[in-house]
């Protein structure tokens, strides 16, 4: 299966800007389907970004993060061609991981 994680990590020399888009329903548990049955909560809880053996950014998410979540941040350092590892785990224990090259 293709990765659920799409990443763009761009180094400007001093800092690296990271944008990530993840395919995930992010069901809140408050929405009912067409039959009137509540769709159970299903959302990413933790999203981590690792560079050079260290976490550079950690997101703790609740159910109020939009479907197919997007997040952008920047960190100091990061060289072109280096790896950035991104992982998420959701409330059902499902996970995905990808490694992106900094551009």
């Amino acid at each position: 299966m293709a990765s659920t994680i799409r990443v763009r990590a761009t180094s400007s020399g001093e800092t690296t800007e990271v944008q990530v888009l993840i395919q995930h329903p992010m069901d809140s548990g408050f929405v009912k389907d067409a039959k009137g049955e509540t769709i159970p909560p299903h959302f990413i809880r933790e999203l981590t970004f690792e560079y050079d053996g260290k976490n550079v950014f950690i997101a703790d998410w609740g159910a109020a993060v939009s479907k197919d979540p997007y997040v952008k941040f920047s960190f100091k350092g990061g060289k072109k061609g280096d790896d950035l590892k991104i992982s998420w785990i959701d409330n059902k224990g499902e996970t995905d991981t990808t490694t992106a090259k900094i551009q």
Partner: protein
């Protein structure tokens, strides 16, 4: 297994270290008396804070204290969100030593939407997209140098994104 920064200021969430491999590891270390007690304090998913209904309770659960408004926290959110399911919200701050940034929507069923942990070397600028049930205040809390600073902006929601 993720690596854990041990140099983060760590005065919160000790109480939340319940289940999970990391917590168990931490408890194991403590029981041997080596006790980097605060090592894992800032690295646990804040379950209780996400379960709180109101914004004040969520902030209290997350940080154990209240925030003061600061014009150094710049919150960017639309005046009117036509679709409450996708509200782009970003924050930047000129405050130094930022360790975390939290986003809340005061009238959501659970006010806390997201918390971002900012290790040293990461810039205190975050953009994301949140769901909002109805028109309400978006609150951003920035934890910097052990203190809490906030910015608030009302976002009018035309079609709610939480109740379906």
């Amino acid at each position: 297994m993720r690596t854990v920064h041990t140099d983060l200021p760590a005065t919160r969430r000790l109480i939340l270290r319940g289940a999970g491999a990391i917590a168990l590891t931490g408890l194991g270390i403590m029981s041997f008396g080596i006790a980097p007690v605060f090592a894992a304090a800032n690295d646990k998913y804040p379950d209780d804070a996400f379960k709180q209904k109101g914004a004040a309770d969520a902030i209290k659960s997350l940080y154990g204290r209240t925030a003061e408004p600061s014009d150094k926290v710049k919150l960017d959110a639309p005046e009117i969100a036509e679709n409450g399911a996708v509200v782009p919200i970003s924050v930047t701050t000129t405050l130094a030593d930022v360790t975390s940034i939290a986003f809340l929507a005061s009238e959501n069923p659970n006010a806390l939407a997201a918390v971002y942990r900012i290790p040293p070397g990461t810039l205190p600028n975050v953009a994301n997209r949140l769901k909002m049930a109805k028109t309400c205040d978006v609150i951003v809390i920035v934890e910097a140098g052990g203190k809490l600073y906030s910015a608030t902006k009302e976002v009018k929601v035309t079609v709610g994104g939480c109740g379906g």
